[in-house]
Every structure is written in C-alpha cells, then in structure tokens.
C-alpha cells in the first residue's frame, strides 16, 4: 500500500469522511424521492430522509476525534470539559430537530389522508383540480 493510500485510510482522515459522505448520500436520496416519485407517502418518506441527513451532518460537525460524550461524570471532566468532551451544542440542536421533524411528518401525513379521502388516489399526477 502506498504512502498516500495509507494516509487516506488512517482513522483521522477517513473518520469524518464516512459520516459526511453518508449524510450527503442520505440527503441526495431524499431529494431524488421528492423530485421523482409520484406517490405521496414516498414523498413524505423522502422529506424525513432529508431531515435525517441534515441531523447526521450536524452531529458529525460537532464531533472531535478522540473525545468522549459531554456527560460530566468524572472529576477531570468537571474541571476542564472543553479538553475532554465533544461539542454539546449541535447535539442539543439535533435533539430538538428530531422532535420537530416528527411533528412535521405527522402534519404532512394528515394532509395525505385528507387528499386520499377527497380524491381516492395517492398519485400526484391524477390529482387535477387543486381546490376543495
């Protein structure tokens, strides 16, 4: 294995790239589902995939290599938490965003149920008249 390849596969380099790449991949799959799929339930699933991708990206931005969770249960953690713990601000943000995402998904699905009761279909190309 050459030197550049070994540098790339070292944990410090490859570690963040895995999480950035998988979050961007999840975001792109959700965007594809919203833009291309015709079924309304699939569109809402794509919306929740986009939310999950953004959450994973924020958490992996706050991660610092080799540090522990921001739970102050040891004396050295109590004394100097910045030296030993990862950034807790994105974690608090994402914790709120998950709950808000569930509320948004439930709202969208209730609208999907109303549309199915009105038109009898979930295909967005068959929903013609846009008033009810």
């Amino acid at each position: 294995m050459s030197e550049a390849l070994r540098t790339f596969f070292s944990p410090q380099i490859l570690g963040p790239e895995i999480f950035y790449g998988s979050s961007v991949g999840l975001f792109l799959i959700g965007l594809y589902m919203i833009l291309v799929k015709k079924n309304l339930v699939k569109i809402v699933i794509g919306l929740s995939f986009i939310e999950s991708g953004v959450n994973l990206f924020l958490i992996s931005l706050g991660y610092v290599w080799g540090k522990t969770a921001p739970i102050l249960n040891k004396p050295e953690l109590m004394k100097e938490p910045v030296k030993y713990a990862v950034d807790p601000v994105p974690q608090a943000l994402v914790l709120t965003a998950i709950v808000i995402g569930v509320a948004v998904t439930a709202m969208a699905l209730s609208i999907v149920i109303v549309i199915h009761d009105k038109y009898g279909t979930l295909d967005i190309s068959k929903i013609k008249e846009l008033k009810w």
Partner: protein
C-alpha cells in the same frame, strides 16, 4: 474512536444507504416504511458512535418507533401498493 469502531461505522453507513435504496426501488409501501425504520435505527447507532448518546436514544425511540407507527397507520388507511 478506534479503528475497529471506524470499520463498524463504515459498515453501518453502507447498510443505511442500502436501506434508503430499498425504499427508493420498492413498490410495496409497507416494505418502504419498514426499510425507513431500519435506516433510522442504523442512524441511531451512528449517533452513538459519534459520542451523542442522548440523541441516539431519542432517534431510536421517536425517530424509528413513533414515525414508523404513524406511517403504518397512514398506509393502512390509504393504499398499500404504489400503482404506476
């Protein structure tokens, strides 16, 4: 995070993208909902690897459990198969 945990994270990321691909290609909406629950559970494991255990607990209970329950209720009240 040691090297072994890094390989576990790589395997989990690949599993998550494969689950998302299953959601894209399937015609059965119940299969799509269950595959998206698998994606959310693997995402909770990734949060735990990234040293965010509270976010992992919330994602596994609310993101994977409650969202899947709501989707199953909607699939039951509407149609199960995606017709094209």
């Amino acid at each position: 995070m040691s090297t072994l945990v890094l390989y576990l994270a790589l395997a989990m990321a690949i599993l998550m993208l494969v689950g998302a691909f299953v959601v894209v290609v399937t015609k059965d909406l119940l299969v799509a909902v269950i595959a998206s629950a698998v994606v959310d559970l693997v995402l909770a494991i990734l949060f735990y690897i990234l040293q965010a255990p509270d976010v992992a607990i919330t994602q596994a209970s609310i993101g994977a459990g409650l969202t899947t329950a709501i989707f199953v209720v909607v699939v039951r009240k509407t149609k199960r198969f995606e017709d094209d």
